[in-house]
Amino acid sequence: MAAAHAHGHKVKRYSGLMDWLTTVDHKKIGILYFIAGFFFFLIGGLEAIIIRIQLLKPMNDVVAGDTFNELITMHGTTMIFLAAMPLLFALMNAVIPLQIGARDVAFPFLNSLGFWTFFFGGVLLNLSWFAGAVPDAGWTSYVPLAGSIYSSGHGVDYYVLGLQIAGIGTLLGGINFMATIINMRAPGLTFMRLPMFTWAIFITSALIVFAFPALTVGLVALMFDRLFNANFFDVANGGNGVLWEHIFWVFGHPEVYILILPAFGIISEVVSTFSRKRLFGYSSMVFATVLIAFLGFMVWAHHMFTTGLGPVANGLFSIATMLIAVPTGVKIFNWLFTLWGGSIRFTTANLFAIGFIPTFVMGGVTGVMLASAPADYQYHDTYFVVAHFHYVIVGGLILGIFAGLHYWWPKMFGRILNETLGKITFWTFFIGFHLTFFVQHFLGLLGMPRRVYTYLGGQGYDDMNFISTIGAILMGIGTIVFLINIFVTWAKPRNASNDPWEDGRSLEWTIPSPPPEYNFKQTPLVRGYDAWWKEKMEGKTAMTPAEPVGSIHMPSPSILPFIMSVGLFIAGFGFMYDQLIVAGVGLAITLGCMVVRSLVDDHGFHIEPEEQDKGVQA
């Protein structure tokens, strides 16, 4: 426990479990996001494997139909909100402040609050398995199915309240990273010098800020309908079911870009580093990202072509959707041209990145096929759609996350992941993925509907379903190998150098792995794009500092974010089981903590130069 003096302020510093509960350090919060996100990824993966085992052969009866509905609902919801997004937040937290030469994010306290609200929202949602009332209306939770008439138990309440609480955390994260990237960049790091991953996260954060509040309102309306007998979606009392579809997809479509844009950023970094080349077409990459994000808000109704909006609406949304293929194509070609003529190293991270490119192209091609409204009437609600979105989300985002995790692992933990195990992970996961989902295109074209718990034999579905299940198990094996890799690597000494890949280009590779808690002893001066590569090419061994060595101000740790999230968790249960007193107590805890936070000034503490030399490790 390092003693801290901040002009007379003593700050209590914790160790062990309390350190993790109270930390406001973005690097530790990144690790927390990784652990929680990966845990939920395993749960969602387990659900997927049970789904696939049920579909292994015709008329299988491993799980009953209603359990199957619960499994597909929880698989989708868990993977999107509790696995994919937190794993992205893990990389954002671990990397963004380092890439922009900052000592922390703009709002360290909110960062911690964002993690804990996500965590308790996720726990609340998953406790539904133990409560015996699991959401079963699909991850899109369409009404009237999700309304109180057809879902009379508490299942959908768990969905509504769990996502509401987790959504607060995501929104806070979005605001935080936008403010961080705008205000906290090192001197000389102009916007058009930002690393591509930082750009991607900046745009993603903007999408979060402008998309998540729509989900908040949708969930509030559904909650009011279910718990307080409101009539938003109750057709008998003048409500409108299509309204839910609009609200959900006004959020839901930007959400898929929230998922994929960070993966684009990761791929850009990894491909450029391991080709030992500057990213091809950097400015076109930036503008393609901005354009995708903008168009991402204009296309939500392509999820609703068969709802009956009419030919004009369907036509406009078709064209808008197809337009997105243009900036996405720009990105694909830029990655290929980055690889072209580079001295490519096939590290695990780069294998995932290179595997990503053709896989994502396939998902994009089926995306354009689905964008055509008349054709969509044929594909709608078949396995073709399932194949499409798994190609873009697993083949895009999850491959991207694996690339990012292998690439930045030494920066996060100080140890390089085992490359042999890494390559086994890649090949099993990659082959398993294509085995699972490639055949599903054809299952869909043959007419197999999605969300059915079983099917009759002799329709030409049997072999392809069998292949698909084998693939899913192979993906499971790949994930287990990754888990083994984590533990094997953990047992090794912490010996990664500042720039363990030796070809690092951006600022995170100029500081120790893992970085000290203040990240940069002296804020670096940035002289161009690929700041660290530029210095290396000029024969420098370190960045030029932009400030003298001095006392560094740090924010104090706090337990309040944890308690506030517990308060919301309690309030969630109170609302669900009609115990309004319990709900009131929960909200009072949260609001009380807000008051305390507002009234008690956080002066933080300082780390003096002599302590910096001792090396305060995060």
Binding site: N183, A211, D225, F228, N240, D601, H603
Partner: protein, 206 residues
């Protein structure tokens, strides 16, 4: 550049923007207001989709009494002006004047809330309950969300006043005053839209 270093020095002209911490907060709050725009935008969209679905309940035209709502509007608009006066006083480092204007702002906010509660009670008596129709549910949700924002703002500004009394006007407390004023203006803008879309259109374009 900690907030603390400045707190002991003399106050700059715009004390709310003196530290990086404070500038972060102001920027972050603008972004939060961006999110709030989407939140209210979605509530407005839901209301517009459902406002004619009155079922057996009263219609907007039968229900709304414009003179009272106009009065409430004037009160809230005036409170926005008084919060501007408070920020002006802060820029002149006039703590006493600033606190006075903040208190006036709070009182006007409370008057608005009083009128709104009275209005809601009246409506319930006239058979316009939360569960009556899709119109009533979306009306109470939209206007109620706004009312809850006003109530939150009143408590918030009261807490800020308390801190200014205790700690004085510093580079730590100044951004709090400024941000609560930003929030208050935002609430006011939302109300202008509610007055137009809910009340005027309910009466005229009903």
């Amino acid at each position: 550049m900690s907030a603390h270093d400045h707190a002991e020095g003399h106050l700059p002209h715009e004390p709310e923007k003196a530290t990086l911490d404070a500038r972060n907060k102001i920027l972050g709050f603008w972004l939060f207001l961006g999110a709030e725009v989407v939140l209210f935008g979605t509530l407005f969209a839901a209301f517009l989709a459902l406002r004619h679905s009155v079922g057996d309940g009263p219609t907007a035209g039968e229900l709304f009494q414009l003179p009272m709502v106009f009065g409430a509007t004037m009160i809230l608009l005036t409170s926005s002006l008084t919060s501007v006066f408070a920020v002006q006083a802060m820029h002149h480092h006039n703590k006493k004047s600033m606190v006075t204007w903040l208190i006036v702002t709070i009182l006007l906010g409370l008057a608005f809330l009083g009128l709104e509660i009275y209005e809601f009670v009246e409506y319930v008596h006239e058979g316009h309950k939360f569960t009556t129709s899709a119109f009533s549910s979306s009306f109470y949700t939209l206007v109620g969300f706004h009312g809850a924002h006003v109530a939150f703002g009143v408590v918030w500004i009261a807490l800020v006043i308390g801190q200014v009394f205790k700690k004085g006007l510093t580079v730590v407390t100044a951004p709090k005053v400024y941000i609560s004023a930003m929030y208050w203006h935002f609430i006011d803008v939302v109300w202008v839209f509610i007055f137009t879309v809910v009340y005027l259109m309910g009466k005229v374009a009903g």
